[in-house]
């Protein structure tokens, strides 16, 4: 099945084909159904230990993975540390080897710096799932977003998606551009020039600095979180100016086609990327994204750790573990 999954890890959307992504989304349907049951739990990963290694604070992603693991009956353990405390003394590899020694079958890694999940995968036999590495990738977010879009809009082919905001510092943007365009969507990046990557060579996207001009031709308006530190870094003059030009307010929401949807990876800055009144608009599917996140992560864990492995690799010979 998936090339990105054949080596037993999920490190990024990079390298995945549309078919591979769609197969994960199809599998997600099963786990979405399980999540609807009165007792949303199956024994698929009983006896397996899943460790979340979060070198950066994230309540939501961790809770989502944790919930997914528990619904699959896996045991979970948690490691949280600032990356800076690791910069002296113990190396990243040392830390990973310690966690592995506790008996983890899978490592779910969140780190503030790019490439760490890939590095860790080189050092461990455990399954590695990238839960966000710096500004690089956040593949399960892209999968849950693609699933949400499929749920609301059907096929992504030809879907017009505007990704709005701090593209350059966003792993969500990088993974979503890869996933959405692989599935045939037309992606437009909408941002002030300072919040776009320094080079877009090879990115199959359009670029606009004018949100109003884009909205009428948009089926999905995907808003990214803006960090306040972008002002001290001199990337934008003020929150006020950003909100004026790129904030999703009621007036802008009315420019969207009536069947369009509004997405946000959370947590939202109310009054910055999105006004409260728009967040409450039925076209805003932010909570669907959250719910789908659990189902998608169940599918990914099942594929990489459970019977789903048989779908991506031939079973190992008896006693040849």
């Amino acid at each position: 099945m998936s090339n990105a999954l054949v080596d037993g890890n999920l490190l990024g959307i990079e390298g995945m084909t549309a078919t591979e992504i769609e197969e994960i989304l199809d599998l997600t349907d099963i786990f979405a159904e399980i999540s609807q049951r009165p007792i949303p739990k199956v024994p698929a990963l009983r006896g397996q230990t899943i460790a979340t290694l979060f070198f950066e604070n994230s309540t939501r992603t961790r809770l989502s993975f944790d919930t997914a693991a528990r619904r699959l009956s896996a045991d979970t353990m948690t490691f949280g540390a600032g990356s800076s405390s690791l910069s002296k003394g113990e190396s990243l590899r040392d830390t990973v080897e310690v966690i592995e020694a506790y008996g983890a079958d899978a490592l779910i890694v969140r780190h503030p710096m790019a490439g760490t999940a890939q590095r860790i995968a080189n050092w461990t036999d455990a399954v590695v799932i990238n839960a966000g590495d710096g500004c690089h990738e956040h593949p399960t977010q892209a999968l849950l977003d693609a699933y949400t879009l499929r749920q609301h809009c059907g096929n992504l082919t030809g879907l017009r998606i505007a990704l709005v905001g701090d593209i350059d510092h966003s792993r969500v943007a990088r993974s979503n551009v890869l996933a959405f365009t692989a599935l045939g969507a037309k992606v437009t990046l909408v941002a002030p020039a300072t919040l776009l990557p320094s080079s877009l060579t090879g990115w199959p996207v359009e670029v606009s600095h004018d949100l109003n001009a884009v909205l009428e031709e948009t089926d999905v308006c995907y808003l990214l979180r803006l960090q306040h530190e972008r002002i001290s870094e001199g990337l934008i003059p003020s929150i006020r100016e950003y909100v004026t030009d790129f904030g999703m307010n009621e007036k802008r929401a009315n420019l969207l086609p009536s069947e369009a949807i509004i997405c946000h990876p959370g947590p939202t800055n109310r009054g910055v990327e999105i006004d409260a009144v728009v967040a409450a608009d039925p076209r805003a599917v932010i909570l669907d994204q959250v719910a789908n996140g659990v189902s998608v992560r169940m599918a990914v864990l099942f594929l990489l750790l459970g019977a789903g492995r048989d779908l991506i690799e031939s079973p190992t010979a008896e006693g040849n573990k």
């Binding site: 990356s83 190396s91 040392d94 760490t116 590095r119 500004c135 990738e137 990557p197 320094s198």
Partner: protein, 430 residues
């Protein structure tokens, strides 16, 4: 005890000839002629005999970071790479910014397999705030000052140091050279690789080429103001090469070096996220690589340097952003130059031996023509031998070579340092 190098082809700055070389027990060349004999015999048939290489840019980590490298191990690696002199960078602990550390390095270097030539910092502790005691250091024979590892940010202090250095040339007996690591930190801050297509794709903060070029341009402007002699270290961008080309055309007393990695590797290597490819200045683009090769070919760049920067595996086993920058170079430099510089063999020898020897002020005994009376600092190269790079197999205490697993052409067979055969048939003799 005399040594004869038998059957090789000598290439030096004066040209090429087929002759044996007889080295006397005073460490000097006694004779260059056919059919010489001596107590020891070094076979050089099919090989090139060249003046030994001079590296303008080695980090040997001692004193202070001996876990990564020592003068002994670094010099051994240098000898295996054909070097007979290594110019060491002052970012030691403590910083090489005073007589005591210079003396310590020289003492440690006495028994090394290469001549060890310390440089000293331009500013105290390389902090870019106060001028180091340049006069005291010049009196010890220090001819190159650099804050390498960082560029000197403050243009006012740089101007003053440049002016001050011009007043020390008589004491040194030749122009004092200020060597700059060109990097405007206000632009490079938060960048861990070259800013461009790959950094955008990988989500790693980038250092724009302009961070280097602005400081090259600034220092060239200050050269006109002060008359100081400058050497630009590890030029990595097309724009920098062009600035130096124009400065040379203008007649300014400027020299420049390029590292082997800046003409053989690009930022695409960072896609592995392996910090073995993290280096400052960063690996650049294909067009920068082409420009560096062009700069070597047309004489804009005077020397190939290694920027040999050992780091332990433990220190590199971090996120790309956190790992220290730097890569090994001494044992691979010649082969990489032969493979990737685009230069002919005699031109490679020029930029690895006699041209850097002149910049380092060593040209009375390093990089000199192979003739009777000359100091015997030589290497014997088998240009057709191939070998496969292995960091573990290197003499360095570290293994962070970016060429791991690559099969390269050209191997150093023997190295003679001050008359002693320190490497014989690819093996260090002590």
């Amino acid at each position: 005890m005399s040594t004869v190098i038998h059957g090789g082809t000598i290439i030096d700055a004066s040209g090429q000839q087929q002759a044996d070389v007889l080295i006397g027990d005073d460490g000097r060349i006694e004779a260059v002629a056919q059919n010489l004999s001596g107590d020891h015999h070094l076979d050089a048939s099919g090989c090139i005999v060249s003046p030994g290489f001079v590296d303008l840019h080695s980090h040997l980590r001692e004193p202070g970071q001996e876990v990564a490298e020592t003068i002994e191990t670094g010099a051994r690696g240098g000898a295996l790479g054909g070097y007979t002199a290594l110019v060491t960078m002052p970012n030691t602990t403590p910083t090489t910014d005073c007589a005591a550390v210079v003396e310590q390095i020289r003492t440690l270097g006495k028994n090394a397999l290469c001549e060890i030539v310390p440089t000293a910092a331009m500013t105290i502790d390389r902090l870019g705030q106060e001028m180091a005691p340049l006069g005291e250091l010049v009196d010890l024979g220090i001819g190159i000052f650099t804050d390498d590892g960082t560029g000197l940010q403050d243009p006012r202090l740089m101007r003053r140091i440049m002016e001050y250095s011009t007043g020390l040339s008589k004491r040194l007996g030749r122009p004092v050279i200020l060597a700059q690591h060109c990097e405007v930190e206000a632009l490079s801050k938060g960048g861990y690789m070259h800013e461009g297509e790959w950094s955008a794709k990988l989500g790693i903060g980038g250092q724009p080429a302009e961070a280097e070029e602005l400081m090259v341009a600034r220092d060239i402007a200050l050269m006109r103001l002060t008359g100081a002699h400058m050497h630009f270290q590890h030029l990595s961008t097309a724009g920098s090469v062009e600035l130096v080309r124009a400065a040379k055309a203008e007649g300014l007393p400027v020299t420049a070096e390029a590292t082997t990695h800046h003409f053989s590797l690009t930022d695409a290597a960072c896609a592995t996220f392996d910090p073995v490819f993290k280096v400052h200045p960063p690996l650049r683009t294909d067009s920068d690589v082409t420009a560096v090769r062009q700069g070597l070919a047309d004489g804009t760049i005077d020397a190939i340097a290694t920027d040999h920067a050992p780091h332990t595996a433990h220190d590199k086993e971090h996120a790309f952003d956190l790992a220290p920058p730097g890569m090994l170079g001494l044992e691979t430099a010649f082969s990489v130059a032969l493979e990737d510089s685009g230069l002919d063999l005699p031109d490679i020898l020029a930029v690895m031996s006699w041209q850097p020897a002149i910049i380092a002020g060593l040209n009375d005994h390093q990089g000199v023509n192979v003739q009777p009376g000359a100091a015997a600092n030589l290497c014997v190269i088998d240009p057709d031998a191939t070998w496969t790079v292995s960091g573990q197999a290197m003499a360095s205490r570290s293994a962070n070579t970016p060429y791991e697993g690559r099969t390269l052409r050209g191997r150093i067979r023997h190295t003679i340092c001050a008359g002693e055969a320190v490497v014989v048939d690819g093996e260090a003799q002590r």
